[in-house]
Structures are given as structure tokens and as C-alpha cells.
Symmetry: C2
Subunit: 302 residues, 2 copies
């Protein structure tokens, strides 16, 4: 569980341009996939394409250890992928994207869930948050059959996926977000200004977003435990967002939020670090999940 | 290496009042010491009370694995204790304070060093920084004999110790801080305002500190790699300092600094987490040391 990447691979990662491009995604995954393959990136059992709604994108995969005689009641780790609001999938055939996340969850003793959601420009704000809410609702009704505890659901999102999870936690997508056990917001955007054409937010929020579209006020208000992360080599925009969360959190709560600085990684490689480079993110993420799904914590929290 | 505390111990830690008092120190160490004893908190070889200067407090202990046939060239991890500028020691007989830190370093493959320094009110700013500089100078000349590489010295400080290390890195204590491989600043204070009588800084900096006493400008300027940490249950003052570093770092460098949020721990238990609760701090701290003392990083850095 404490696999680390060799220093020369970290050095190669660090040498990549940090700008978010298809080339960065390709190069980052190419560097790490040999390690994913060596460690294994598929859980023993994957139930694919379960429908949590009517749209063809309302699908999720459940990753489990396949032991039929499991005692139920495991934490449930849900992953919402990124892709600039307009692309991305829960599963790409022959690739660790993102079965890896499900396999990571199962290794840690959780049930893993990877989900898709409706995309812009066909579906705009708050469609992503609504889809997260719908998926969580489906899991609350159905995950016990896969060994998961519906009261121990932690939802994680990366990039645009973090935007949707944050928006869901802030109540923009309906449902009952206060019932989840935690949310992990990896390299997300929480303050929406007026996006310029060409910026990823433009296609999802429009040129003149609803003033209520920023999730930050709702994140400051929520009782849901939150973990934030920013990659060492995340672009400026994400660095500013992370620092903005720290400032706003201090002003509101008098404390620094749970923030993981993902050492050595970039916007694309953060999630790819799971299993193969656990000290970067996985160690802290697993600790967050375990803390907020253990009975001891729930009795003494706050 | 991935020992974790049981959730009920974390819950007991979290239930302690976070105010910095002798009671908090006593209760925190009492909770963790059984785990230190189980894991072992002394390195195979400890060379005690080596003099790095003329004052009786100019002493350091070197912790090593005692293998005489070791190849030299290990990273050197130096620890500077806290104690409100007026107390504290590198070693308390029959206690893991702070042989534990030396033992942690040796487990990770480093040479460990624990050091004392002159105390206020007899010795005021910048005596602490001068003593860190003197100890580092001594180590640069002598640590090879203990298996350490004088070019791979990482200096860590906790609380008042972090203040002294930060001050040293900022150049306030003389020496040549740019030659160290990194500094870890755990729950420190980097901006010195006018301390009120009774505040710990008052006795060390006086009521009207030199405007140059704040280390933050120097920390923003240095080429020395820095890791900061703040404990989840650090008091307000330390929360504000950590958030202040994030803001200042963003303004200066456009990025978030390497900041470890020490989950579940308080001002006193942070350093006690080493070895027995590695995900809290030790995992990130070891990664920091290894990154900045490995050849691969040094070739590609910046």
C-alpha cells in the first residue's frame, strides 16, 4: 500500500509542461501506466453500466472484491471524473482510466464507484451537480447489495468532477448532500466569475453565470467533511483556487482546511497516482475516508 | 513504516483542548508513548552531547544505525525542539522526547540529529538562529564520520524550533543556509508583530522587535526547499500563520507551498506522530527529505 514511483519517474513528471492539454494527459498517463499494469488496476469484480437515471450518461460502475460472503457495511468511494465539462468517461477500454480508482478503493477495503454524468454544451449548470445527486441517491438505495454501507458514502471529484461534487455538496443539485460521509475535491474550481469564451467554464456556466453558481459559500457552510487537494504542478488557476479556499476557510472557521498538496504531480497525474504513488495523495485520501466512515469518529466529531 | 494510531486514540487526541498548556503536552505524549514503546524509539546507536559550540546548550545527539561498515552519504535529518523559547531539550531521560525523532530518521535510512540551543530570557533573537547555523556548520564538518552526507542536510523545527529554523533559513543567524537541502517548518510563527507581555515571543523578541525579525520575507526569497505543516488542532495563532504563508507564497510564487495539514493532531502531538502515525506527517516528511536529497531531483529541480 505504500508503493512509490521511482525518483526518475517523478523527475520526468516534473519536467512536463504543466499546462492542461491532451499532450499532458497522454504523457502523464504514459509515464504511470506501466506501474498501474504492474500493480493491477481492476478490482476482482466490476459491475458495469448500472443506470442511475434516464440519460445514456447516467451510468456507474461498481467495483468490489467479489466475495459473495462479505459482510456488508463497507465505506463507498465514489469517483467523478474530469474533462472540462465536455468530455471524459468512467471507463476507457484497455486503460486504467478510471478502473484504477475503483481498484484503489477495493484495495483499501471500500466499495468503489466510478460514474459518468451529462456533458456540456447539451447540459449546463447545474446538470453535473444534479447527476451527482442522482447517483448518490441510487447508491443509497442500492449499494448494500454490493457490500457497501449507504451511510458511509464519500464522493470524490477531479477537475470538472470536483466542480460538480462541490456544487452538489453546496446544494445546487438537490438531493440530501448532508447525508454523505465526506467529499474530496481534487484540483477543482469553487469560485465562478464571468468566464471568457474558450475557458472551460464558459460552455457549462455560460458567459454570465448565476451569481449563486460559485460553490464556495456552500462549502464553507456545509457540515460534510471536506478534503481539498491541489497538485504541485497544477496551473495558476487551480493554485489560486486552493489558496482562496484556505483564506476563506480561515476567515470563516478560524482554521486551515484539510488540504493535500500533491507532491510532484500535475493536474492529470494526481488521480493516476493512486495505488502506484500512495504518499502523493492516496495515503491522505484513505485516511480521510476511514476517519469519516468509522464509528469512533462519528461519536466524537465536533 | 505505515503504522497508524487506532481510531479511538485519534478520537481521544481530538477530544483534548487545543490550547498549548503543560497539560496538553502531558496528555498528548501519554496517549502516544505506549505506541512509541511498542515501536521502539531509540536508534541502534546514539552519540550524545557532542559540542557544536561553547555554551552548555550547544549540544547535539547523533542517531545512527551503528553499522560501522555503512557506506557514507546518507541524508541527515536535524530536529530542533520547541518550548516557547524558554525551555525544552533534545532528550529527556526515559522518554521518547526526542530520541523518537532520531529513531524515525534512522528507520527511514537517514542519520538523525537532535539539538539544543540557548534559551530566552538569557539569550534573545537571533540567538536561536545563530545556534542552528552553528550546529549546521558543525555537521557539515563532522557528520561524514557518522555516515551522513554534509551536502544532504535537512533541518526541521517544531514550534519555537520552527521559528529558529525559519530565522536561520532567512539568513538571520549567519552561516550559509542556502547550502542545506531543505527545511521543514512544523507549526511555526513567521511574522513577528509587537508581542504583548506573556506571549511567548515577548521574552525572545522583546516588546518592540526589530522590523527585520519576521522570517517570512526571507522564506519567500530562499532557494532552500521548504515544507510547512500545521496541525488540525493547532491554536488560532498557528492556523493564521499557515494561511498567511499560503497567501504570501501565492502572491510571490503563483503557487501553493508544500503544506502538510496534520490530520487529527495538536500542537504537541504532531512530532509525537512520527513512526506511530506516519500518514499524519511522517509520510510526507520522508518524501520531502528523499526528494531533496536524491540526485535525480537535484538535476531537474527548477
Amino acid at each position: 500500500m505504500t508503493e512509490q514511483l521511482p525518483p526518475d519517474v517523478i523527475a520526468q513528471l516534473a519536467a512536463l509542461d504543466s499546462e492542461i492539454t491532451p499532450q499532458l494527459a497522454q504523457a502523464s498517463w504514459a509515464l504511470l501506466t506501466p506501474f498501474h499494469e504492474k500493480a493491477g488496476y481492476t478490482a476482482p469484480k466490476i459491475d458495469r453500466d448500472l443506470a442511475y437515471g434516464d440519460d445514456p450518461r447516467h451510468r456507474l460502475d461498481v467495483h468490489s472484491d467479489g466475495d459473495g460472503d462479505d459482510q456488508a457495511g463497507k465505506p463507498v468511494f465514489v469517483f467523478v471524473h474530469g474533462g472540462g465539462f465536455v468530455r471524459g468517461d468512467k471507463h476507457t477500454q484497455g486503460s486504467p482510466q478510471y478502473d484504477l480508482v475503483g481498484a484503489w478503493a477495493v484495495r483499501h477495503g471500500y466499495v468503489g464507484v466510478t460514474m459518468t454524468y451529462r456533458l456540456a454544451p447539451g447540459h449546463v449548470w447545474p446538470a453535473g451537480a444534479q447527476d451527482v445527486a442522482a447517483a448518490v441517491g441510487w447508491l443509497q438505495r442500492n449499494i448494500a447489495a454490493y457490500g457497501g454501507d449507504p451511510g458511509k458514502i464519500v464522493v470524490a471529484g477531479n477537475s470538472a468532477g470536483a466542480v460538480h461534487v462541490a456544487s452538489y455538496v453546496a446544494g445546487q443539485g438537490g438531493g440530501d448532500p448532508a447525508r454523505i460521509a465526506g467529499a474530496a475535491l481534487l484540483s477543482g474550481i469553487y469560485q465562478i466569475h464571468d468566464p471568457a469564451p474558450g475557458e472551460p467554464e464558459h460552455v457549462y456556466y455560460g458567459a454570465d453565470p448565476d451569481p449563486a453558481a460559485s460553490s464556495l459559500p456552500g462549502l464553507l457552510d456545509t457540515t460534510v467533511p471536506l478534503l481539498f487537494s491541489v497538485a504541485e504542478r497544477d496551473p495558476d488557476r487551480f493554485q489560486r483556487e486552493a489558496a482562496g479556499v484556505v483564506s476563506a476557510w480561515l476567515a470563516r472557521h478560524g482554521t486551515v482546511p484539510d488540504l493535500v498538496w500533491v507532491e510532484g504531480h500535475n493536474h492529470m497525474s494526481t488521480i493516476a497516482s493512486l495505488t502506484v504513488d500512495e504518499p502523493a495523495l492516496g495515503t491522505a485520501l484513505a485516511r480521510f475516508v476511514e476517519r469519516h466512515t468509522s464509528s469512533a469518529d462519528r461519536e466524537t466529531a465536533q
